[in-house]
Amino acid sequence: MAVLHTTNKSPMQTRDLESCLRLSRPGSGILLMEDAVYGALKETAAGTMLSKTTKDKRIYVLGPDLAARGFTPEEVVPGVEVVDYGGFVDLAVKYHHVQAWV
């Protein structure tokens, strides 16, 4: 069953995102929220790593957390979908369950 993984720490401070990418299965969704949104940005090592996984996993980033930190959807790597809080709820419903990498 497809799982929605969430991560909320900067990929430059912890290795949560790497572990999440390594252990999540194809078909999973991965939502970056809070400080994890930095991982979805172009011109960063994490962004490059993420752009290689958008084929077999859906990657989402929480828009309000992106805006709070001064970034726009245009600065997110292609293939990553920006969602709002309503979109987060829809994802939580759509996937079988939610696994948080805190």
């Binding site: 900067s10 401070q13 809070e34 400080d35 011109e43 805006a67 709070a68 001064g70």
Partner: protein, 131 residues
């Protein structure tokens, strides 16, 4: 040393304080707490430097809009620091580059220094606070 003479006359010694910011804003309380401390140090007329390293550089990224996360946008405070005579703001070049950022992306004028120069500056301080 002049410091000792000052103390002898009852004039408080001015120390060199450096605050090292290494965390992104909003995800944790560190960035906001560092701002509180920098303003306190300024109130005591100390020699204060503010440094942004690693994810700390994100604290002064332009265009922060926090309305939808229900937190106060404290980023304009960095621009007001000059009014408190805090004008020594340093950013590590390596940290900026690793994040695809340039000085133009920052909301306040800073001096961009390489790790070697910044390390030397850290060495010269009396007190270094880490956030």
């Amino acid at each position: 040393m002049s410091d000792t003479q000052d103390e002898g006359r009852g004039i408080p010694k001015v120390k060199r304080f450096m605050l090292v910011n290494r965390k992104a804003p909003y995800g944790t309380i560190y960035a906001l707490e560092a701002l509180e401390v920098v303003l306190i140090a300024a109130a005591f007329d100390q020699d204060v430097s503010l440094v942004f390293v690693d994810d700390g550089v994100y604290q002064i990224r332009k265009g922060q809009q926090t309305k939808d996360i229900g937190q106060k946008n404290f980023s304009p405070t960095y621009r007001a620091l000059g009014d408190y005579d805090i004008e020594k703001l340093y950013v590590e070049r390596e940290s900026l580059e690793a994040r695809g950022l340039a000085a133009d992306d920052l909301l306040v004028p800073v001096q961009v220094l390489g790790a070697v120069e910044l390390g030397a500056l850290m060495d010269e301080q009396d007190v270094v606070f880490s956030f």
